[in-house]
Structures are given as structure tokens and as C-alpha cells.
Subunit: 159 residues, 4 copies
Amino acid sequence: MDSFFYKVVFYKKNKEMEPVVVDVKHRVQYYETDKMGYVHNSNYFRFFEIGRTEFMRTYGVEYSAMEKEGVMMPLIEQHARYHTPALYDELITIRTIVEKMPMSRIHFEYRILKTDDNGKEILVCEGWNELCFIDEKTRKPLRCPLWVQEKLEKVLPVK
Amino acid sequence: MDSFFYKVVFYKKNKEMEPVVVDVKHRVQYYETDKMGYVHNSNYFRFFEIGRTEFMRTYGVEYSAMEKEGVMMPLIEQHARYHTPALYDELITIRTIVEKMPMSRIHFEYRILKTDDNGKEILVCEGWNELCFIDEKTRKPLRCPLWVQEKLEKVLPVK
Amino acid sequence: MDSFFYKVVFYKKNKEMEPVVVDVKHRVQYYETDKMGYVHNSNYFRFFEIGRTEFMRTYGVEYSAMEKEGVMMPLIEQHARYHTPALYDELITIRTIVEKMPMSRIHFEYRILKTDDNGKEILVCEGWNELCFIDEKTRKPLRCPLWVQEKLEKVLPVK
Amino acid sequence: MDSFFYKVVFYKKNKEMEPVVVDVKHRVQYYETDKMGYVHNSNYFRFFEIGRTEFMRTYGVEYSAMEKEGVMMPLIEQHARYHTPALYDELITIRTIVEKMPMSRIHFEYRILKTDDNGKEILVCEGWNELCFIDEKTRKPLRCPLWVQEKLEKVLPVK
């Protein structure tokens, strides 16, 4: 029996300008469904949040540590395109992709995937969003903190 | 056509030790349902929150004003008993009842109601919860702020 | 004292190709905020849902009635751009705009607005989404039901 | 680096009338917090749902399989008592405890726990709830399905 409820599968570390990808498994909960029997459309944006948090943790950046330093990351814009509904209790993959180093903004791409009975990957939803950095006190824009840049530089292609 | 989406119906002002009651109408949203087609059980606690906020506003106490003064009201305990499911798009009543003046804690009772085709009231869910007052900075317990007591004293039976 | 918690303000009925607009007032709830003190980004998509439901109800189309006939409206795509955060207890306006008659899809535009201390409108968030019509049983695409078309034709510009 | 985001730790199998316990780890998400910086009170009931689903899966009962057979499990009653707030990004344990075989109802107990800097367990929240079994079509009460009883009998004390 598989004793791991959720796990992070680590993808290729970046070499030669390839985007960096992190996968997180998530089990669809009953409270995430709606009366259509599908995951409610708003919840995919919550899955994106799980994805980017684990992406950053994977490369040594805990968002909670950033907030303790007084840096917050509000959302500027986001988008989702729905392909196939995810259903209750399905084990989905939240795939987060970053293509370049953040400066004053960071851009994440997402793919929500599930597998059919033959183990073939099915695209559930794709999306992206863009976040900025702000000072917790003044709520004014900031550049990406240096220590975060240093952590991400090791893996992200500097374009 | 009824142009009012939601409204507060004011119940009897307190006279001679009667509990004080405030009703709020709420339209059940799609995102509040689950795949059973019912309002998800956790959302009733959110309805309770709508109810107590409007209860307090009705008697001159804005929770947001209290927070601006550095007083927060975390939950200590809560309970719900489910009778009949509320369904998508139904117009429910969130009834909030307070029986006595808060000192270091405040106790709210709730009834979630809907009406059948003949206009008869049906009990959907009943519950209660208890909140305390804490200092935003120290996160230590406080007594109910004086100005809040003064507002509520005018309507609540002092037992 | 204003006894109306939420209300729908009816905008201009359609004349000569103008888009049709419906406003709904919504009070930001505590459970809609996150630790940044802002409405969580995912909740704006729930506000969009409140908006389009009331838009359709305003013109005689209850989404719940459509579902009872076996027609469901899943989301295909959606987008949000965040301008200014909405905060706890603020009274926001959910403005829903439709520009043309739905055939196999329906496209909604949204503006989330609040007012500053001088009563001037502030743009909180703007977005759009597109929904299709499917058969509840087969889950296959359908055209917009005739009775819905007839209701909307009376107000929407037929381009 | 710990590559496991979430995992289920299996507790003692039942011997001599002891209650059966299953633990699930859950990382507190940003969208689960409110402006107080705490996990919103309503979300604990969602954690309870994660807990009981994994409890049942651990002993061979997938709730989704039960639903496919036309048996649903709505909530009858629930309770939570809050001790210490869980904060953003904390790794909490959702402990689910069942003391006896379900017949027409099933009673779950929960403890939400976190650990302090010395690894000592802290009680965040404790609660319980009771669910019944209903027929999906008629929505009438049922007894616990036989195959579910057989699975649970192997581990649960038959009192």
C-alpha cells in the first residue's frame, strides 16, 4: 500500500536555459467539488498557490520566511483555461513552471494533470499568474529580495 | 420584481430579558455547494460569521472598527447540527440570537432557515459558538471593550 | 439606518447595441480575507459567479431552473487583473457586463469596485470568463437553450 | 531535504478494544488563513474531512467507491474546540480516531496538532462529528453498507 498521501516529485534541475518544473500531488477533496461534481473553478487558483509555494520551497525559498522579513507577494494578474474536469478523490498533479529569474515580478505557469486508467496524462487545466513584491508596512512595490534571487539564480536560466 | 438581493430584517428590540435576534438573508451560491448538491457542512460556520457580524452592526458595533482599535475576536468553540440540506440558489435566513451581555466571552446562537413552497419555515441547521476578545499585539485575552458593552447594554438583557 | 445589507442596482436596459450591465453589492466577509488582510485572489472568481448569476436572474434566467432542465454551464476560461485590494467589511460592487447574445458560449466581463471616502469609484479587480452549455447526462456541448435566448434577446444587442 | 510534502503515518492496528487512529500531515495554505493570520475556523471542519477520508481509505474503504454505489454520507452534527491557532505554512497533523463500528451512523473524533520548536506536540483544535448513510436516489437513511462493515470490522473494536 502506498503510504504517501501527497508527494513532491523533483524534475530536472535547470541546465542550459530550460524552464524549471516542480510537481506536487494533490488529492481532490469533497469540499473542493461543487454540485456539478467537478472541482469548483475558483479552486484551481488555490492549487496554483500550492504549486508555487512548493516550487519556491524546493529551491530554498520559503514564502513564510519572506513574509517574516516584511516582504509580501500579492497577485497582479492570473488566467486559467479549463480542459477536463477534475473529480472528487482524483489524485491530480500540480505542475509549476518558471522560465526566468524574477526581478520586480515573478511569472508562474501551471498545468493541472490527471491520469487516465492507462496511466496516460490528461490536461485538466492550464494557467499562469504574475505576482509582485511589496513591503508589508508601506505596501509599496519592492524588487525581489537578494537572498531569494541568489537561491533562484542557481536553478533558473538568467535570460 | 424584488430588487433586493439580500436584506436584514430587524426583530424585536429587547424588552424584559428577551433574547435579541437579527435575521440576514443569504442566497446559496454555487461555490458553496458540494457534489452531493448540498451546501458543504463547513460553509454553515461561514454563515454563522455573516450572522454575528450583522448582528453586531445592527446594534452599532462594527467588528472592523473593533479590529482597528486592536481588539480581535477569535473563536473558542462551535457546534452545528444539520437538519435539512440547503440547496443551490435557495434563499436562506441566517438567524443570530444573543441571550446575554458579553463580558470576557460572547455566546451566539444560530438558526439557518428556509421556507417551503407554502412559505412555512424549515430548520436547516442550528448551532452556536463562543468567541473571546484578545489584544491584537500581545494576543492575550481582554474583556469586552467598554464602548461595545455600552452599545449592547441598550438591547441585551443584563442577567 | 440603512436596513438593506445587499442590493441589486439595475443599470440601463439595452438600447442600440449597448452592453448590458448589472451591479450587485457584496460585503467582504472575514472568511474571504487572507493573512495579508486582502480578499484572497481566488475569491474574486466567486464574486464573478455571484455577478453572473444575478445578471441572468435580472433578465429572467435562473441558473437553477436551467440545471433542473438538465443544462449545466461549466467554465472554459477565465482571467482576472488585480488593481487595488478589497479589504474586510468593505462594501464592494460586482459589476457584470454582457456584450452580445450567447450561442454556444457566453462571455461575461466583470469589474469589482469600491468607493473611497469621497464616494469616488475605485477599480479593485477586472476580469472576464467564458462558459459553455452542456447536457447534464451526456456532458456533451449544447447550444444556449431557446427559452434562455428568448429572454436575453430582449435586452442584449444581437450583433 | 524532505521530499514528502504530505504523508500518512499509520498508527497501531486495533488490538483489544483500542480506538483506531490515523494521522495525516497537512501543510497550512495561504488561502486557509484569514486576516487575523490564523487558519479560519471553518477550515478545521475541512481538515476533519481530509482526516476521515484518509482514515477510511487506510482501512480499505474509499468514500468515492461508496458514492459510486449510490451511498452518500451527509453530516448530522459536528463540534470543534479551538486551543491554539495554526498559522500559515505550519505542518499540522490531522488525527482521526474511531472508537466503534458504525451501524446507521459513524462517529469520528479529531485532534489537530502541531509541534513546537522542541518537537513537542501542541493541541491546536479538537472536535468530533457524526455522519449517517443515505441512498443517493431517495435521500433516505441506510445502514452502513455490508462491505464497509466487513472492512472496518477487521480493525475496529466491536463493542
